[in-house]
Symmetry: C2
């Protein structure tokens, strides 16, 4: 006798949302349609051809010539873990910059690999302090790796990746860079920076569905990994094994590739290339300026100071007297708009408004401000309907003049 | 100056294929359409409701009441690794049954976790020998875990999971069961067997797109993991952390869930539940019988003896004088049919014809036999056009009488 089904659900229907949180971002119809193309085998010659294109498209997005550039078959945290389990040996010292949730996740990774994390702490919401990192290198000149988050998704702070990579090189350390939220939204220049490992996520400024982690490794990393005497502690994320499938010559089975997600990433990257990186960065900046103008009218303050503020992730303090959950729920249920809550120490204190990838559109800025005004007014907040929206339009007008 | 794009690809167009290899299998239109539904946030109340349904649907598929039943955000090998990194401590003895590629992957996992693998080898293509496993337990009564592959995708052999689980229980060991190729195709009865951890893959007999690994853990495993003094060596696959997102009460962010792939899995599992497990098993059996009848006429022999032969994965010896690659290429390019090559020691010696999930349809059996006849004849193989197809139809006719 079999166990009977517990429930008899209907086919799932998704509500319509504007995704203005910290990711996933809105997915364009062209990417959703690519996702739904018929599945084929992961060793099919047609699929293998698509993989080669995907690698080239990713190299453009990362601004690199690294041969080993491909999407990991898992979310950004799998990409993060792939870097650490392949690049950190037991006992290795790793300098980790921690100015938010994801820096802390890096510390966890180092420790689980048996490495020694040298933690450089900065206040959440601030960029990584270069001087502190230099101090750490002076104290631990034998550190093997410097790991930092380029764009902290938990705070909206952008750090100076170019300077951090240069610092690591001066001390002979490899770099691991988290570009989950930055890739496609602000400049990520792997080769110019001389970064060794950069991982990202598909669902932020690339506006592909969640579940993949684009990654790129310098030839230095490949040489180190190939010469490593011991095996990586992860089979699934073992770079030496993955080289057989994503590498340059062979296509040996390692695991079944997530074919349809890869179709979607191909299309999302194609869209990015067609727009052009510089144009995409400019678009993110423009919509950020308009949102900022609207938020200023509402007297809402940013968490991050202007010089290190991410255009694609607007972290703002929740005005006093407002209920975090209540406002976010009203935004979602009444206006179909998702904005993000704070994480960790910032939970209940901030909101995170994402304008990432395909979410970074004029209509989203305007709809978000209009909804926010309306919800805040209904909560007794002192502001006037339409003023934030007007300020955003004014910002766009000024931008088009300059 | 930015690096220019290397290439300017067109949107990717997939060829039409019948997927009759070892996975992925054919994906139905309803599942592809579910995949393409608009992305929403992974903490959206609507999405959280869908997750609950997904867990219930998976419990039916696994035939379990285990609370901790959910899809891992990665392929089957991530599901495999999740079991080992959470259930194996350094120094633990783990009895691993190895009768194909995936048993060997389990050995790799044990060793990378710092465990000691006690390997029970069987000839590839044969079921796991219970006596050998019992011998291993007698020799190593302190073994903590027994790990085995229920349905070896590399050979098409089915092992007696019920007996193996019973054996482990007698010796006080937990079980890790690979049901990647079995779930949905032949009985997988988690609770009846008393299995502790079973993982599967989305892209085999569930006929969902590749990239997810459905998994179920007994309460014994949950208790062990929660009481574990040290952290799992993997952050991404740490069950204690994942309990916060997929567990019973909370929905705490761990990683961004692959929303769209989960929509597709929900739909694929719904289709399975609507058909009914017993009906699905019977369908796999019926199409296997028809294929077998056709192959017999072509004088093609099975690798696995009848008692332990998987209906959904037909491993057959390549007839002497035929070129493996040439035949598979002709099947793919001329007939749009993918069949699988041999892996490891069986490469070049066998083909693997999958009739998994939605691929297990009368039209696929007939098309496959017709194409195979045609390709073999063109390669000078002694057979007559139409006879294999006729034998398949005859098998169906006989089945409908009995």
């Amino acid at each position: 006798m079999l166990l009977a089904p517990e429930i008899t659900p209907n086919a799932y229907t998704t509500p319509l949302r504007r995704l203005l949180g910290p990711g996933p971002s809105d997915i364009s119809t062209r990417v959703l349609q690519a996702l739904a193309k018929p599945t084929i085998g992961y060793l099919d010659p047609s699929f293998v051809g698509m993989m080669e294109e995907l690698k080239a498209l990713l190299r453009y997005a990362f601004q690199t010539k690294n041969a080993l550039t491909f999407p990991v078959s898992g979310p950004g945290s799998a990409g993060m873990e792939m870097c650490f389990v392949n690049m950190v040996d037991r006992g290795d010292k790793v300098i980790v910059c921690r100015n938010g949730v994801f820096g802390n996740r890096m510390v966890e990774n180092v420790e689980r690999c048996g490495g020694q994390a040298i933690i450089v702490d900065d206040v959440w919401g601030q960029a990584v302090d270069l001087n502190k990192v230099e101090e750490a290198f002076k104290q631990y000149p034998d550190a093997k790796v410097l790991a930092f988050v380029h764009a902290e998704t938990s705070t909206g702070a952008l750090s100076d990746a170019r300077a951090l990579c240069a610092l690591a090189q001066r001390y002979g350390a490899l770099t691991i860079v988290d570009a989950v939220t930055s890739l496609g939204g602000v400049p990520v220049l792997a080769d110019e920076w001389g970064a060794d490992a950069i991982y990202s996520g598909s669902q932020k400024c690339l506006s592909c569905t969640p579940g993949l982690s684009p990654i790129t490794f310098s030839d230095r990393v490949v040489a180190k990994v190939q010469a490593r005497p011991q095996k990586s502690q992860s089979w699934f994320l073992d770079l030496n094994l993955l080289l057989g499938y994503w590498g340059e010559t062979t296509r040996t089975y390692h695991h079944t590739a997530p074919t349809n997600s890869l179709y979607a990433l191909h299309e999302a990257l194609l869209a990015l290339q067609q727009e052009g990186l510089e144009q995409a960065w400019a678009r993110h900046k423009s919509n950020h300026e308009a949102l900022k103008a609207g938020l200023a009218v509402l007297d809402i303050r940013y968490v991050v100071e202007e010089t290190s503020r991410l255009p694609q992730l607007n972290s703002i303090y929740i005005p006093q007297g407002l209920d975090d959950k209540l406002v976010r729920t009203a935004m979602l249920q009444e206006h179909g708009i998702e904005i993000g809550a704070g994480l960790g120490a910032l939970a209940g204190k901030i909101w995170r408004i994402g304008l990432m990838g395909y979410s970074s559109r004029v209509e989203n800025v305007v709809a978000c401000l209009a909804a926010l005004e309306s919800v805040l007014i209904s909560q007794g907040y002192a502001c006037q309907a339409g003023q934030a929206v007007a300020a955003a339009y004014q910002s766009y007008a000024q931008q088009s003049l300059s």
